[in-house]
Symmetry: C2
Subunit: 441 residues, 2 copies
């Protein structure tokens, strides 16, 4: 069979455009109401998407209140969605910096059981300033230290997931033997950050390890991805940049001794789909008119670890010198770098930059007809820029519905997307092997 | 309306009797299959029970493998069950010793949103030896230290749940104001164990605080319950002991300035229900024949923090001197004391003791006709021993089904139990007020 696109839905409030929550096309369901997410999941499953994904931040972000915060909590929400869906993969973000590896390994294994093998974990090191104060720290641990902990964290959780052989649960009623103790191993991890004896207190799950996603794109982030990730979410503003990132990351995967297809690259795609170019442009303008300057400035500032941009003129072209050097940013280096590259290549004014970021925070944005969207996706997919996309509908569910009704059929006609769900687990759908246990093979 | 019984289902593998998993009446569904729990929850809801409860231990307990371990994980399992039930309360165990208060407060608030106000938290300090090694400790923190941390933990999580006023989410589309920042407070907790700035990153949930359950019965455990718990699960072997416990705990509640009805006492009840006394006795014998001596000895040892009982004669009456002093037990003092009291009052042989504990680990056990069971419940309820019961069917779902079909109608005829669900939240059902925010009233 031909190589086909992998499509993930990035679930995000009422849509990825900063103005979405106010737009007439957005639903009025409360964002703490599980029905909002159940409806999105059901729609994504109807559209045969590979998976859906929930982001996460461990603090209230925007304290000015001009836009929604991340409500609810990914692990519990995915568990609830596992009960109302049957096929779609369920990917949740969780932090290696502020969780205990034993608790995280266990909850993800439990999710994998609950969903019968449909779980993915988006591994983050938590970049937002202020999170640390909710966990007893006076300062955010530096970027390099967060990644050092993340590397060891992965050794612990992967090890814990390996502690049960697949046949450890015997459940032999007549012999009175429920477990085979010799098929359950201790981990006995003793490292710089963690001492964890194990075994995990839950049997091996259908996928053994959840599918490992990652979205950090700094040098450390890419090194981490090359080592551990099986798929990466990434923000790429245009085709050449995306091609360079794709090539470089696959090369790094190769260098650590893995096969390039063992790591899928999924750039974000935020598409305003409409019958005509003109209508698409009109929708985008409506959305832009609903954004707030303060929110844009606060978010830009957060990307650069708190730098103040409010004194810059709004309507003069920016230069790279107006921005702090991203190498010094301890929060999210790659999120800062996306902005620097945008400014270098396009010289927008501050106002234009904020509008651009309001669209989908620096991800690839498009407004056009279904054909135009499908063409762009095909081009990226067939020219070394993407193995699929992280779909970021500007308004949800409305623009997800249009995408599914109008764009998916075109991709199917071109043989680029499945016409029915086939594989059972998320790993199988993404073409990834089920890991063997390091203790039992 | 008359005071009515509160009935909670203690979900536990294939039943509370140690031999249950092997009995022909037990289902063969795997214990990691969510359908087992969905079926139990649906049955309990059909029976109009107040709530169901999941216990938890943060390590693989019995490593000899002669009986099932606690599979899955309470927080994720309750989230999944919230999607397939509508009325029943959902209570999960989580540890104050091995979780971060921010993460725990957040996941329980999320569960309360997902379930529309049906969540309870069984607060434990984790008593099983071996758990500590999964969280970087060489030794289990002493009993008193675990409770000291638990007291501070409660101040933090209750404070976090109070950080959002009920009207903090404005969601005003036309004004472009999603939050009212002045209706969200920082916590700024700085104590001996925790520094947590807050606010929590999730809006106030339907119940604001989950209903707080607790099950420690040591002196510290009771002091903790009197201060914080809204309901306690407890193991009481007989009526006089249960009456004394009930009286003493309500008195302690009074002494800290709370109303006695603000803490409900729910002793465990493990009933073999059958058409005749004789059939009930027969079932119990079948179950006893399916237990393993090694498992019983290992569990007894765990209660006493690892003491070795295997050299004691099996068939001579025990005396209290054969047992370690429970005051010195750092694991679960009250679980050790239950055994000491049993030995003091009944002088069983070791074999008889193990059989007794195999029934329901020291909880009140009964075998008889529906009338006999209903009579006993009524006696405890109307004579100062219980505000309801923690139902522990020896085999599940079979003996839960019998209880619901045969005993519940009798209780309803006597006006002791509801005939339909009325209240919306679990708090309302238990007659407990919704806490006001300490910051916003
Ligand atoms: C599509 C996408 C989604 C992301 N989601 C999250 C998230 O949910 N939570 C988070 O803390 N970081 C998130 N990030 C940020 C990164 O995962 C990463 O933690 C951050 O960029 C810092 O690492 P870096 O400096 O290596 O980029 C996301 C990034 C991308 C591109
Ligand atoms: C019905 C019941 C259920 C319990 N469930 C748990 C549990 O799930 N996890 C746990 O660690 N302890 C559990 N316990 C033990 C107590 O909550 C408590 O942590 C333990 O007894 C130690 O405290 P203590 O010494 O004050 O009794 C339970 C006790 C009872 C009576």
């Amino acid at each position: 069979m031909n190589r086909q696109l992998h499509l993930n839905l990035f679930v995000f409030g009422r849509g990825h455009h900063e103005g979405a929550w106010r737009h007439p096309l957005a639903p009025s369901t409360s964002l703490t109401d599980v029905e909002h997410y159940q409806a999105l999941a059901a729609m994504a499953e109807k559209g045969l998407l590979d998976s859906l994904f929930l982001a996460d931040v461990l603090a209230v972000g925007d304290t000015q209140g001009h836009s929604p915060i991340t409500p609810l909590e990914p692990i519990t929400l995915l568990a609830a969605l596992s009960a109302t869906t049957r096929h779609i993969g369920l990917i949740g973000t969780a932090s290696t910096t502020y969780m205990e590896p034993f608790n995280l390994a266990r909850q993800f294994a439990a999710l994998d059981h609950l969903s019968r093998g449909r779980i993915g974990w988006n591994i983050v090191t938590s970049w937002v300033n202020g999170v640390e104060a909710n966990f007893g720290h006076d300062h955010q641990p530096p970027h390099a230290e967060r990644y050092a902990r993340a590397f060891e964290f992965m050794e612990v959780v992967k090890g814990l997931w390996d502690t049960w052989a697949d046949d450890a649960v015997l459940d032999d009623r007549s012999a009175g033997q429920y477990l085979q103790p010799e098929r359950i191993a201790a981990l006995n991890h003793r490292g710089a950050h963690f001492q964890v004896r194990g075994p995990l207190n839950i049997p091996a799950s259908p996928q053994r390890h959840p599918v490992l996603f990652q979205a950090g794109s700094s040098a450390d982030g890419q090194r981490f991805a090359a080592q551990y990730a099986e798929a990466v979410f990434t923000a790429q503003p245009d085709l050449p940049t995306a091609q360079a990132f794709y090539r470089s990351l696959k090369q790094q995967v190769h260098e650590v001794g893995r096969q390039p297809h063992e790591l899928l690259v999924l750039p974000g795609l935020s598409a305003v789909v409409a019958e005509s170019d003109q209508q698409a442009g009109q929708l985008l303008e409506e959305l832009n008119a609903l954004t707030a300057l303060e929110t844009g400035l606060a978010r830009l500032s957060a990307r650069f670890g708190g730098h103040d941009f409010s004194r810059l003129p709004l309507d003069l072209p920016l230069s790279v010198d107006d921005l702090p050097n991203p190498d010094g940013v301890q929060a999210a280096q790659s999120r800062a770098r996306v902005v620097v590259e945008l400014v270098r290549s396009q010289r927008p004014t501050l106002r234009q930059l904020l509008t651009r970021l309001a669209g989908a925070r620096g991800h690839y944005t498009l407004a056009g007809t279904p054909e135009q969207i499908a063409d762009a996706m095909q081009t990226w997919f067939q020219n070394g820029a993407a193995d699929g996309f992280n779909l970021m509908p500007p308004i949800m569910p409305a623009m997800l519905a249009t995408f599914i009704d109008e764009v998916i059929p075109l991709l199917q006609q071109r043989g680029l997307f499945r016409t029915a769900y086939q594989q059972h687990t998320l790993r199988q759908r993404y073409g990834l092997a089920r890991p063997a246990s390091r203790f039992f093979g």
